[in-house]
Symmetry: C2
Subunit: 215 residues, 2 copies
Amino acid sequence: MSTQAKPILYSYWRSTASWRVRNVLSLKNVDYEYRGIDLFKEEHKNDSYKLLNPMGRVPTLIIDGVALAESVAIMEYLDETYKYRPLLPSDPLKRASTRQLVEIINSAMQPMQNIAVLDKIGNEYKQSRKEWASFWLHKGLAAYEQILKQTAGKYSVGDQITLADACIVPQVAACSRFDISLERYLLIQRVVGNLNELEEFKRARPEAQPDADKI
Amino acid sequence: MSTQAKPILYSYWRSTASWRVRNVLSLKNVDYEYRGIDLFKEEHKNDSYKLLNPMGRVPTLIIDGVALAESVAIMEYLDETYKYRPLLPSDPLKRASTRQLVEIINSAMQPMQNIAVLDKIGNEYKQSRKEWASFWLHKGLAAYEQILKQTAGKYSVGDQITLADACIVPQVAACSRFDISLERYLLIQRVVGNLNELEEFKRARPEAQPDADKI
């Protein structure tokens, strides 16, 4: 792994995809420079930013001379190149379970509640953002909970912190923004409770970021 | 890798996520049993199927004694356990580019045009399915094309067939169902043209599956 320069993370404090990557950087103990991208000022739509991130989204990680985008690709890269504290189990079937959990969040939950989608639902179609988001998020939570019955220990997959844990903490926080009750999801509650106690997760939280709203 | 029993793929012929996994099984030369799940008969919502796939989606791969779900998790598992023809580059930065391309399709394109989402947009919100799908699919295509300017050779990432290729072929086919023109996406056209010539990709196509509509 080359370490010529400190990695730079383009992030928005409340973005759950950015938060996932912050969790991984924190767990891996990587020192990085934080650069806030204000989604409400549409800084992610600037041409110069889109050269780094063709989808025009956060996060982007500048590392080893290139700009990496898409949170799952970034997390896998960090896990492959920073050997400290592996975030995927060594057993291939457990790796598959971990990635299954990651993808439930990454492809079935978060895409349904990102700002661009909610704006189209609310502004253009005049539908309830909250009803739309709840509908999809409950589906994902129910599936995640069902899988945890097979996989969970202290964390999502046994007692090892994994990429799934890096994703579930931000996703549960997003659910609370839509007033989604976690009552039915006891294992998720337990796992997230355990994760939230860890210093590595605390320093990656939105309110600990330099661009957080100070209210 | 244990091979006690032939893997079983639960698939729907036109499902692009199923098609991705069929591409990988074909590229890896894995012999498997095909079981059609008819989404229009809602077979994916059966309780017995949801025990295998908690999200109630296709595909599911029964392999090495377990049921794997989420296409990206399945593809990564197959690439890790079947060493023949690696579908991720050995260079970590190229692996990251590959996964970036995969996730543009998996998290930004396909989730916007799956049947459940289109039904909600069309049946419940009375909006145009085609307009909704086009809006998101063009964003993804434009980003994929921009990345290909850096990465493409004969295929999406150089001259090696990768997981990104397994995903782009079905996604382009889905785009054509929404009458999306690929005119602006010359590199995607070239790469997909090259892939479609390969026998491994031909046998994974929807019309070659046992559950394909015979019209």
